[in-house]
């Protein structure tokens, strides 16, 4: 029982991180039908930004997190403007391949400055609480709690604000959204900024929990978060969160019973089966065709 609770906590921590990253994939896909394969690398840049701020400026957690999020948000917007926007009328495949290229570019740019893995300094002291044999760290609480807050804020933006309305309208039929007086390019920039900022938050938290970071850290995590988004129903914000937690649950569940080398093989296999059963993902639905 204690073991089960312990693993659940671990799954919630990992799931929160997957969910934060998955949101970036799903938001961009929802609005542009573009799979932004550079997004995992934005997560990585977020971790390195936090590392740089903490190591060289010595800032504490909150400003480090905020600056990392702001910097990566700006980077996300810049990438969209320079790399994706010129391809908006081109076949989708061109933009997807460009995204892959941008990702590789970011990895290798980071590699120039960080040829060896970096050790993340401690942004805040870790407390460990033990209840019986169950142990809970303050980092776990922070990661799960902060992720939850960020997801609730995002959900509020998407469901309740005019910006969110515009994002959902573009997802439905972007061509006519300008007729509502909405500057579509600005909404797209805002979408990239929000997705990138969430990715950077995940990167910062990830680096706190798993403090050795390297320029390739975003590759596998990025793929996993992307798959989480697909499992949840890509384009669907709540689906991305659900997918993130499911993927983490499956991974931790598999690792609890089987050698860790089986983990990705089995968890990805299960997800593939799930996609065969529900091709639009858990919360995705084939859209009601417009008239």
């Amino acid at each position: 029982m204690v073991y089960f609770l312990q693993q659940t906590l671990n799954a919630l921590q990992l799931g929160s991180l997957y969910a934060l990253i998955a949101l970036g994939y799903t938001m961009v896909y929802g609005i542009l039908r573009l799979i932004n394969f550079a997004h995992g690398d934005l997560f990585m840049v977020g971790a390195f930004a936090a590392f740089g701020i903490a190591a060289w400026l010595g800032w504490p957690f909150v400003p480090t997190l905020l600056l990392s999020m702001a910097a990566v948000a700006a980077l996300g917007v810049l990438i969209e403007r320079l790399a994706y926007k010129p391809l908006r009328q081109a076949p989708k495949m061109s933009a997807v391949i460009t995204a892959l290229g941008v990702g590789i570019f970011l990895e290798h740019l980071m590699l120039v400055f960080n040829p060896y893995p970096r050790h993340m300094p401690e942004l805040m002291p870790v407390h460990l609480w033990t209840v019986g044999r169950l142990s809970l760290s303050s980092h776990q609480v922070l990661i799960i709690g902060l992720s939850l807050v960020l997801m609730l804020i995002l959900d509020w933006v998407v469901m309740r604000t005019k910006l969110g309305l515009a994002m959902r309208a573009i997802a439905w039929n972007g061509r006519i959204v300008p007729l509502m007086g909405v500057p579509v390019n600005r909404v797209i920039s805002a979408t990239f900024a929000m997705g990138a900022a969430l990715g950077a938050a995940a990167g910062t938290l990830y680096a706190m929990a798993y403090p050795v970071i390297d320029p390739y850290m975003g590759v596998l995590v990025g793929w996993k978060a992307f798959i989480a988004a697909v499992v949840g129903g890509i384009g669907n914000v709540r689906g991305a969160v659900l997918g993130g937690f499911i993927l983490a649950g499956v991974e931790i569940g598999v690792a609890a019973f089987l050698p860790t080398t089986y983990r990705d093989f089995i968890s990805f296999g299960l997800l593939l089966v799930l996609l065969v059963v529900r091709p639009h993902g858990l919360l995705g639905r084939p859209r009601l065709e417009k008239v």
């Binding site: 005019k162 959902r168 439905w172 061509r175 300008p178 007729l179 509502m180 007086g181 009601l288 008239v291």
Partner: protein, 239 residues
């Protein structure tokens, strides 16, 4: 005394899609307070003209609206100038609720109280929408979607409405209802440019009309003259 310049003045407007010339230099005017109709067969270029006017499609020629040259003005700024385009097929955002569809159209406005009052006004005008405020737009019937599309255009406080075939796919009763509402809106000071294939209905409420054939204006004039013109009767009014 010089007459007031037209609210909308279009000169030699041309629209091309690749090598296809869909609109080949048309000119038209719409004065404040008028209902003007633009008629023509399928593929004549009616929707292309409206898209050019509202900034969705690039064009050649000149378009002046309310004294402003619209060349290179992006579509979202054109809305702010007071032109609203109700597109072909209505353009309802299917997974936004009726309320959200209306709210989105107030993007350019920041007068909370005015928005609330206008929402009440359009809901009074279209009571069926009031009963369906929280329903996704995609679940509305065709007629209700058309009402929502017009209501949405009114929410931006437009001076000029461009309407692309509001009668499409609707029963005769509903068409009469919607045209009645359009006339009422016009009486309250909104100018209408009405694209229609239903020439009978359109000429009944419009004061003037243009008939388009393969991207060019074939006839134009007062509604009464067009209705009695044998060529127009033969082609568009069923004999």
């Amino acid at each position: 005394m010089s007459a007031k310049p037209p609210l909308l003045e279009v000169k030699d407007l041309a629209v091309s899609y690749g090598s296809l010339r869909a609109v080949k230099g048309i000119s038209l005017e719409v004065h404040e307070g008028e209902i003007v109709t633009l008629m023509g067969a399928n593929g004549a270029g009616k929707s292309s003209i409206l898209s050019a006017l509202s900034g969705l499609t690039p064009f050649q020629g000149t378009v002046r609206f309310d004294g402003q040259d619209l060349r290179r003005v992006p579509a979202d700024r054109i809305v702010a100038l007071g032109m609203a385009h109700v597109p072909e097929g209505r353009g309802i955002f299917g997974d936004l609720t009726v309320r959200e569809n209306l709210r989105l159209a107030t993007w350019i406005r920041h007068d909370r109280e005015g928005i609330r009052a206008d929402t009440e006004r359009v809901l009074d005008r279209f009571p069926r929408l009031r009963d369906r405020l929280e329903q996704p737009g995609g679940t509305l019937s065709g007629g209700e979607q058309q009402m929502l599309a017009v209501a949405r255009a009114l929410m931006s406080r437009a001076k000029l409405l461009l309407l692309d075939e509001p009668s499409m796919g609707l029963s005769p009763v509903l068409v009469r209802e919607i045209f009645g509402i359009l006339q009422e809106i016009n009486r309250q000071g909104v100018t209408l440019l009405l694209v229609e294939q239903n020439a009978n209905m359109a000429l009944r409420i419009a004061s003037r009309g243009y008939v388009l054939e393969t991207g060019q204006v074939a006839f134009s004039g007062a509604s009464g003259d067009l209705r009695s013109d044998p060529r127009v009767r033969k082609a568009y009014l069923g004999g």
